[in-house]
Symmetry: C2
Subunit: 353 residues, 2 copies
């Protein structure tokens, strides 16, 4: 059994997509159980509409819903202890659920997660990790939104957490890890990135194959299983890739529909276009993971549909089933055994400056 | 007449693409003149092969060539005063040429440009600006590689320089400008970006329409004419977009060639695919501009061909013809008249902290 605690109010469309998604996920994973949190009057009708989901779910009424435009501080003030988002996180904290999942306000979810679950021992700051479709399959990219201007030690933490996530999700034993950097020689990129790279190289960890710096175009190429960066550049990379994909899809649609020959070609090749659409479908990489907390927290896109939401449930399912938290602790243990406890790393960082 | 001083040795293929590019550019712009710098034995045969280019060019032999893998400090040590790269920049400094152009080592070109031409009065650090194809046409994106961790004042300088470049190149009178930021509410992005936004809003410049923050996916959408960011995130955004475009092109090729129906569809729609290829052709946005120097310096991709190199020449031509440097000085003047001299901005920046 994998138990998922769900903030049923989160997202642009709330319980309608949440329940539809749970229904789809159940078909694939019959050993799922759900704990749903939300406003009874809103959620109940959808719960009744999905009897299969209802049969494996508990429902808890919560008066407060965090709004998509609440500031994190607002959300914490009004929603702590009693909002559907908080209650889902709390279920994980109490050990009643394996995973908390919300399609709600990202900033609020990050703030509440930190407050409710706290960061793991040995981890200073959480990171938001995304699954990124590549030419080779999928890679883990982090941080895409939690910790801006991460320092060298935090980047190393991210490398280990991302490595653990890749082991839990991508079926690789010793994931390859690269630090995102820029290739302009004069700069050699950020100092924090250089220092983190030096330490990762020296630490030579059992569960993590550090291969060096990678550049922006290596992400889509799938050069490494895990791409590590701080949140500002990571979020901009993610959004830029989404924008570029939409832009090319739009150019392609225009080009194919402008002429009769284009339309005939489209008719013949519609199977190929369907295949391409599936490859580029943002729903199939929905479900970012907030790493570094005492519990598994998944963030779904607010605007996704049932298929996308089911994918976020699947990410949570795999993380729980494959022991994400145990794997992160293993990696932290390796790092410490390698003589790279935080205080030693601090000395290396100082010397490198 | 527009006079372009060319480092004929720069790039992965040196003078062969340089001369081919010059020949293509001349057809479109018969009022071009070239000053070529390079090793005589290498350049001369190509010059003889393009009599049209030879007729409007001078050639100066330079013993030293900056290598693609030279560190900027190395390049400066061995190449100052006498390398083909330096001599091209020096031609601009002496007023003998309007534009310096190189497809060589980016770090070396930035270091030599700063050393040879110095930054403009009122500009602290240079920025590398790229032309970015969008759904609406083209936008200027800067900084994509020169100044990492730019502070608020430097971001404001970049906004003005990017605005001037858009006016010179994109035929807009009051370009819209956005600061690249991330939308995660908890953070509201980088502090430097917030402060720069506040000042740009208050300054309300004549030649620049500041519209606020934009995110990564706004770049391809063409939401603004000018996207401003510091060099780390900017370079990663640029490379990530290039990688995503290559990735999608590869998926598309695979999908169309896998089945007979796909191949038939491709046959009919090959006109549409040609159109798409042209839209995505990286050669047509080749030619980044190093802004903020006392002179126009263009960097061509090292791996481009004649068509791409001709485009870099065209960028330089337009910049000179449309008075880029004058326009930057106008914008700096506006900014100072608006009461936002650097020392006043410093106070605002302090207060905002």
């Amino acid at each position: 059994m994998v138990k998922i605690a769900i903030d049923a109010m989160g997202g642009d469309n709330g319980p309608s997509i949440v329940l539809a998604g749970a229904d789809i996920a159940l078909v694939r994973r019959p050993d799922l159980e759900f704990q749903l949190f939300g406003e009874e009057a809103v959620v109940r009708p959808f719960l009744e509409a999905y009897p299969r989901v209802k049969a494996v779910s508990t429902f808890t009424h919560c008066e407060i819903t965090v709004q998509m435009d609440d500031k994190p501080s607002q959300a914490l003030r009004k929603g702590r202890w009693k909002s559907s988002m908080w209650r889902a996180l709390e279920a994980v904290k109490k050990g009643e659920a394996d995973v908390a999942l919300s399609a709600g306000n990202t900033g609020a979810l990050m703030a509440m997660s930190k407050f409710c679950l706290r960061t793991m021992a040995g981890i200073e700051r959480p990171a938001l990790a995304a699954l990124w479709p590549t030419l080779r399959g999928e890679s883990v990219v982090l941080d895409v939104g939690a910790t801006i201007n991460a320092d060298a030690q935090q980047l190393i933490d991210f490398a280990m957490m991302g490595g653990a996530m890749a082991r839990a999700l991508l079926d690789v034993e010793r994931p390859s890890v690269g630090l995102l950097n820029i290739g302009v020689e004069e700069m050699k990129g950020l100092e924090e990135v250089r220092v983190a790279g030096q330490i990762l190289k020296e630490a030579n960890l059992d569960h993590l194959n550090y291969i060096g710096f990678v550049e922006g175009d290596d992400i889509g190429r799938g050069t490494v299983d895990v791409v590590v960066t701080e949140a500002f550049a990571g979020n901009i990379a993610l959004k830029t890739a989404e924008g570029t994909a939409r832009q090319i899809a739009s150019h392609l649609r225009d080009a194919m529909s402008r002429t009769l020959m284009g339309r005939i070609g489209y008719f013949f090749a519609r199977g190929a276009f369907r295949e391409l659409r599936q490859k580029l479908d943002p729903r199939s990489s929905n479900g970012a993971v907030l790493l570094g907390l005492n519990g598994i927290v998944i963030k779904s896109h607010g605007g996704t549909d049932g298929v996308g939401y089911a994918n976020a449930i699947e990410v949570g399912y795999s993380m729980a089933k494959n022991g994400l938290l145990t794997k992160i602790n293993q990696d932290l243990g390796d790092y410490h055994r390698a003589g790279f406890a935080r205080d030693i790393a601090d000395v290396v960082i100082e010397e490198a400056k």
